[in-house]
């Protein structure tokens, strides 16, 4: 079990981030309870990835503050990195290396011994349905296989908090289902999972709570059921459309 001491896994207040003339985040607030699966929903460009990158210590916010597992993401970035795992949106593996070599290499960087990294790589290749492809160079992989390898790399060592940026994009339904099971198992073991998704059905099925993000702020937040009830809608899709169309309209 992880992080009993930190009932709140993520606490962000007033996050702002600007890239040139684009305001990616304009005062985003977020609270994620430890041990839960939390979904960030929103159209492309809403600020989901920027939020994840700030929380995972890859970006500094222009203003606002964020704490992950009790550590400030700017001042205590090193402490945050010891507790998190990240699967970015682009498959961040080395195309020249084989799947197995990627996992062993990243395992070593995560602190596993040589033997430990090899054993872990074999287990993860099996779990992510890549056992047969482990010896092939990643450049020969399909998009779905790369995605799975990237996810496997995020599970090399246990993390208190997993950041998964669109983990199931490009996966077939069977693979998506496998990823959901692994995400659920991670939460059951006491870890927190913060994931972004464009599939509302996915958020509805696996997320304990969701935040709908648009134009760099949180438009609505709650359990999928509560959001549907509050908005008087039957599905999360309708909630999402109602919220994001509103902002499109007001922005125009």
């Amino acid at each position: 079990m992880y992080e009993k001491r930190y009932p709140v896994a993520v606490e962000a207040a007033g996050l702002r981030k600007r890239f040139g003339t684009t305001e990616a985040l304009r005062g985003l607030d977020l609270t994620v309870a430890a041990g839960t699966i939390y979904g960030l929903l929103g159209p492309n460009g809403a600020g989901k990835t920027t939020t994840i990158r700030i929380l995972a210590t890859l970006l500094r916010p222009d203003s606002g503050r964020a704490a992950v597992l009790g550590h400030d993401v700017v001042r205590e970035a090193a402490a945050v990195r010891r507790k998190i795992a990240l699967a970015g949106q682009a498959a961040t593996v080395d195309e020249d290396l084989t799947g197995r070599e990627n996992l062993v290499f990243l395992g070593r960087l995560s602190g596993l011994s040589r033997g430990g990294a090899r054993a872990r790589a074999a287990g993860l290749l099996e779990a992510f349905d890549l056992a047969g492809a482990g010896g092939r160079q990643v450049k020969a992989y399909s998009g779905g296989m790369r995605r799975r390898l990237d996810l496997a790399a995020s599970f090399l060592v246990p993390a208190s908090l997993y950041f998964l940026d669109e983990p199931t994009t490009g996966l077939d339904p069977a693979a998506r289902n496998q990823v959901w099971q692994i995400v659920r198992a991670a939460a059951d073991s006491g870890s927190t999972v913060l994931l972004t998704t464009q599939y509302l059905e996915e958020a509805d099925r696996i997320a304990d709570r969701v935040a709908v993000i648009g134009h760099g702020t949180v438009l609505a937040e709650g359990t999928p059921a509560a959001l549907k009830a509050d908005m008087g809608k039957g599905t999360l899709d309708e909630v999402f459309l109602a919220l994001t169309q509103d902002t499109e309209g007001s922005a125009a």
């Binding site: 890859l58 090193a78 990240l86 290396l97 070593r108 596993l112 287990g123 991670a186």
Partner: protein, 265 residues
């Protein structure tokens, strides 16, 4: 399948040395998996060595055998300098593919990716220098400086190439694609290596070209290498090369650090 997720404790992050070795090992794996990337570049000095020695060697120096000791230190320099471009190409690939994002999210010693990449570069330089030297030996080249001369010459070349690679890493962080880094690097390196004293002494060149060849850092490096390999090192030339290397390092290492911090964000 979900048994892969356990509540086991997370291991301690790796030390600086382990992390650097992991990055160095990755660089070696890349040489093994994509050897053509290295050999495509080494092919150029190899072809030039063969072509100039057998085609022009007699005309330039009386016989191919007498020309080779003059040419080989030059093509050796050419090989290692061309290979040094990969530092920029590799870094650009990592940043543009987003792999640096994963590295930065891991609890590893911050300079480890760079330190590991340098270790990989040294392996590439040694392969390039080794191949050209062996080719020379097969063609009948017997450096008068013997093994110590070859070792010293290779060492000086490595130092210069590593410092020069900082310029490529800065370029790699400025341009968009690995292809752009490669073509820009080639556009810079080819005039520098051709308009130098690699193939002939500048005596017979027009005055404006002689002026360029004499200030060209590659000429100084080649002269220093000729001295070392021939067993009569020229202290002034070696000092000049080391100074130029230090200048490259002083300008481009901080620039690379600055660009890396900015771009990798």
């Amino acid at each position: 399948m979900t048994a892969i997720i356990t509540g086991a404790a997370r291991p301690e992050p790796p030390g600086a040395l382990t992390a650097t070795l992991a990055f160095g090992y990755r660089a070696l794996l890349k040489i093994r998996h994509v050897p053509e990337q290295l050999f495509d570049v080494i092919a150029i000095p190899v072809v030039f060595t063969l072509m100039f020695t057998y085609l022009f060697g007699g005309a330039l120096a009386g016989s191919p055998g007498r020309y080779l000791p003059f040419l080989l230190p030059g093509t050796l320099v050419m090989a290692v300098l061309l290979v040094s471009m990969y530092a920029g190409i590799g870094l650009n690939t990592d940043v543009s593919k987003g792999i640096t994002s994963r590295f930065r999210s891991l609890p590893v010693w911050r300079p480890a990716p760079v330190a590991g990449a340098i270790a990989g570069d040294v392996a590439r330089y040694l392969i390039a220098a080794g191949l050209v030297t062996i080719l020379g030996l097969i063609m009948g080249y017997r450096p008068a400086g013997g093994a110590p001369g070859v070792l010293d010459g290779t060492g000086l070349l490595l130092v210069f190439a590593l410092c020069l690679s900082c310029a490529w890493t800065a370029l790699g962080l400025t341009l968009r694609t690995p292809q752009a880094v490669m073509s820009t690097g080639t556009v810079v390196l080819f005039p520098l290596t051709l308009a130098s004293n690699v193939f002939v002494q500048p005596r017979t060149m027009p005055g404006w070209l002689q002026a360029f060849v004499r200030v060209n850092p590659v000429s100084h490096l080649v002269t220093a290498e000729r001295g070392l390999l021939a067993g009569h090192p020229a202290a002034g030339q070696i000092a000049w090369v080391l100074l130029a290397a230090a200048a490259l390092l002083a300008v481009f290492a901080p620039l690379t650090g600055y660009l890396y911090a900015r771009r990798a964000c």
